[in-house]
C-alpha cells in the first residue's frame, strides 16, 4: 500500500549536502522522495531502501531532457525539482558513478545561480529597507509613536516588516552559502553527501513555525480589530462604562440631550465606541452633547450647549501609561488654545495633567493599566471633571 506523507519543507533549501543526506535517511526509513512543493515535501511510504540522492544545479530554470537522459543512462533517475535544484536518485546497490567527478567543474554550474542569488539578495534588501522606512514614517506620524502602537495602526506593518526581514535574511543566507559552496568546489573539495541535517532541521522548523505564526497574526489582526469594533448610541441613563458622563459633570436636572448628528440608528453626537488592539485590548471613546434651556453662553455665542468626550485605554503593559498620556496630549490636547498643561498630585491617579482655558477643560490621567483623556466644554468646575475621571478610571485600572 502506498501512502503519501507530507513533511514541512526545510527553509534552507540551498544546503545541498544536508538535503541529500536527509532524503537518503528518509528512504532508509521507507519514505521515498516524490515531490518538493512550495511548503511541503511529499514522500511515498514504501519498503525501506538504501538510496543515494544527488542534487544538481541546472543553469537554466528547467533541466533539459538531454541532461535527464544522460543521467538516467548512468543510473540516476530524475525525482523532482525546486527552482534550479534538481534531485536525482539511484539505488545504492546499482553503484552508479558519481554525477560530479570534478568539483572544480561543478563549481562552474553554480555560477549563474550565484549571480542570481546575489542579485536577489540585494533586491530584497533594498525593498525591505524601503518598507522599514515607510513603516517608520507611519509610526512617527503625528509624533505619537506609542499611541500609534496602542491603536494598532503600526502593529500589523511591524509584523510584516519582521516577516520581510526574515525573507531578506533567508535570501542573504542563500546567496552567501552558494558563494561559499562555489568557492569550496573550485578549490577541489566535493560536496559532503552525508552532511548531518538533524540540527539544522530543528532550527529551521522552529523558525518556519515562528514565521507562520507571525504571518498569520499579521494577516488576521486588522480583521480582528475591525470585527471587535462596536459603536452604539449612549443611553440616557448612567452606565457602568469607564467614560465620564455629561450629567455627572453638569449636575443640572434641566440638562437635555442635543442630537444634531443622528444617522443610521446611531446618534453620532452621543455615542460610545469600543475597540480592541493587541496592546490596548479595551478601548472606549465617547461623545456627549447637551443643552440647558434658557441658558446662554457668555459672550453671546448662542444657547449653552456643553459637551464632553472621553478616550480611555486599558493597557497590557502598564509601564507605557506615561508615554500614552504624553501622546494623548500631543494628539488630542487643545494646545493651540493656549494656557498651561499642569501636572497635579492626586491620590487617585498615578499621573494627572489638567489644561483649563475658559470653558475648555481637559484632563489627562493614568492609573495602573488605564489611561484616560476627558475633554469638557462647559461651565462646570474642573474639579468635577477630575472627580468623575477618578471614579471612572478606577473601573479598569486593575
Amino acid at each position: 500500500m502506498n501512502r503519501t506523507i507530507h513533511k514541512l519543507r526545510p527553509t534552507d533549501y540551498w544546503r545541498i549536502g544536508e538535503h541529500e543526506s536527509w532524503f537518503a535517511d528518509m528512504a532508509a526509513e521507507g519514505l521515498h522522495l516524490k515531490k518538493m512543493g512550495l511548503h511541503f515535501v511529499k514522500f511515498v511510504k514504501e519498503e525501506p531502501k538504501k538510496t543515494r540522492y544527488r542534487i544538481d544545479i541546472s543553469i537554466n530554470r528547467e533541466i533539459t531532457p538531454e541532461q535527464k537522459q544522460m543521467y538516467a543512462e548512468s543510473g540516476w533517475d530524475y525525482v523532482t525539482s525546486y527552482g534550479n535544484f534538481n534531485v536525482f536518485s539511484s539505488p545504492v546497490e546499482l553503484n552508479a558513478p558519481e554525477l560530479h567527478t570534478d568539483p572544480a567543474e561543478q563549481s562552474y554550474t553554480l555560477k549563474e545561480l550565484d549571480k542570481r542569488f546575489a542579485f536577489n539578495a540585494i533586491g530584497v534588501a533594498v525593498a525591505v529597507a524601503l518598507m522599514i522606512g515607510m513603516v517608520a514614517f507611519i509610526w512617527m506620524l503625528g509624533s505619537t509613536p506609542v499611541l500609534n502602537l496602542m491603536e494598532g495602526i503600526v502593529i500589523q506593518q511591524t509584523i510584516l516588516v519582521m516577516v520581510e526581514l526574515y525573507v531578506a535574511y533567508t535570501s542573504l543566507k542563500a546567496a552567501i552559502s552558494i558563494r561559499a559552496l562555489r568557492k569550496t568546489l573550485s578549490e577541489g573539495k566535493p560536496i559532503d553527501h552525508n552532511a548531518p541535517w538533524k540540527k539544522h532541521h530543528r532550527v529551521t522548523f522552529f523558525i518556519a513555525c515562528m514565521f507562520i505564526i507571525f504571518a498569520v497574526l499579521g494577516a488576521i489582526l486588522p480583521w480582528v480589530q475591525i470585527a471587535m469594533s462596536v459603536t452604539k448610541t449612549l443611553p440616557l441613563e448612567d452606565t457602568d462604562l469607564p467614560i465620564v458622563r455629561l450629567s455627572e459633570v453638569e449636575q443640572n436636572p434641566d440638562l437635555a440631550r442635543k442630537s444634531p448628528y443622528a444617522q443610521d440608528d446611531i446618534d453620532w453626537g452621543n455615542r460610545y465606541s469600543y475597540d480592541w488592539s493587541l496592546l490596548a485590548p479595551v478601548q472606549y471613546e465617547s461623545n456627549e452633547r447637551g443643552t440647558v434651556p434658557n441658558t446662554m453662553w457668555k459672550g453671546g455665542s448662542g444657547k449653552y450647549s456643553p459637551s464632553i468626550s472621553t478616550t480611555v485605554y486599558q493597557l497590557v503593559i502598564p509601564a507605557m501609561g506615561e508615554s500614552v498620556v504624553s501622546d494623548f496630549i500631543k494628539k488630542y490636547g487643545r494646545i493651540y488654545r493656549g494656557g498651561d498643561f499642569i501636572e497635579t498630585d492626586h491620590a487617585d491617579f498615578d499621573l494627572l495633567i489638567v489644561h483649563e482655558e475658559d470653558e475648555l477643560k481637559e484632563v489627562f490621567a493614568y492609573k495602573g493599566k488605564a489611561v484616560m483623556y476627558v475633554r469638557y466644554h462647559g461651565y462646570a468646575d474642573i474639579n468635577r471633571v477630575i472627580e468623575s475621571t477618578a471614579r471612572r478610571i478606577a473601573l479598569i485600572s486593575d
Binding site: Q67, M70, T101, D102, Y108
Partner: protein
C-alpha cells in the same frame, strides 16, 4: 568563464580529445574512459557541465539533434585549442625530464 586559451581543466581536455570522433551522452563517457586508458571515469554531471560550457565557448558543436539525443563534435577552434594545450603539456613534460635523470642517478 569563457575559454580564452591557457591551461584547460582535465575534464575539458579529455572531452575535447574524445570528441575528435563525434559522439553523444553515455557513449561519450565511455570514450573518455577509453582515451584516458581507464584512468578517468567522468560522471555525467561533470560531462554535461563541460559540454554545455564548451558549446557556449564554440569549442564543440552539435552535429545532430533529434531532440532526445544530441551528438557533439569538436570545432576547428576546439581542435586548435586542444593542440595548443597538447603542446603546452608536452613542454611541461619535457621540462620535467630532469626528474627522470634524477631517478637514474639515485
Amino acid at each position: 568563464m569563457p575559454y580564452s586559451g591557457g591551461p584547460m581543466t582535465e575534464a575539458m581536455y579529455y572531452v575535447l580529445l574524445a570528441l575528435m570522433n563525434p559522439n553523444h551522452g553515455y557513449q561519450l563517457m565511455n570514450a573518455i574512459t577509453e582515451v584516458s586508458n581507464g584512468r578517468l571515469h567522468m560522471g555525467p554531471g561533470t560531462l554535461y557541465g563541460v559540454l554545455t560550457r564548451m558549446q557556449k565557448d564554440g569549442l564543440i558543436a552539435l552535429t545532430e539533434d533529434d531532440g532526445r539525443r544530441k551528438t557533439y563534435i569538436i570545432t576547428i577552434e576546439g581542435e586548435l585549442a586542444l593542440r595548443n594545450e597538447y603542446s603546452r603539456l608536452m613542454a611541461l613534460v619535457q621540462d620535467g625530464a630532469m626528474l627522470r635523470e634524477g631517478d637514474r642517478n639515485e
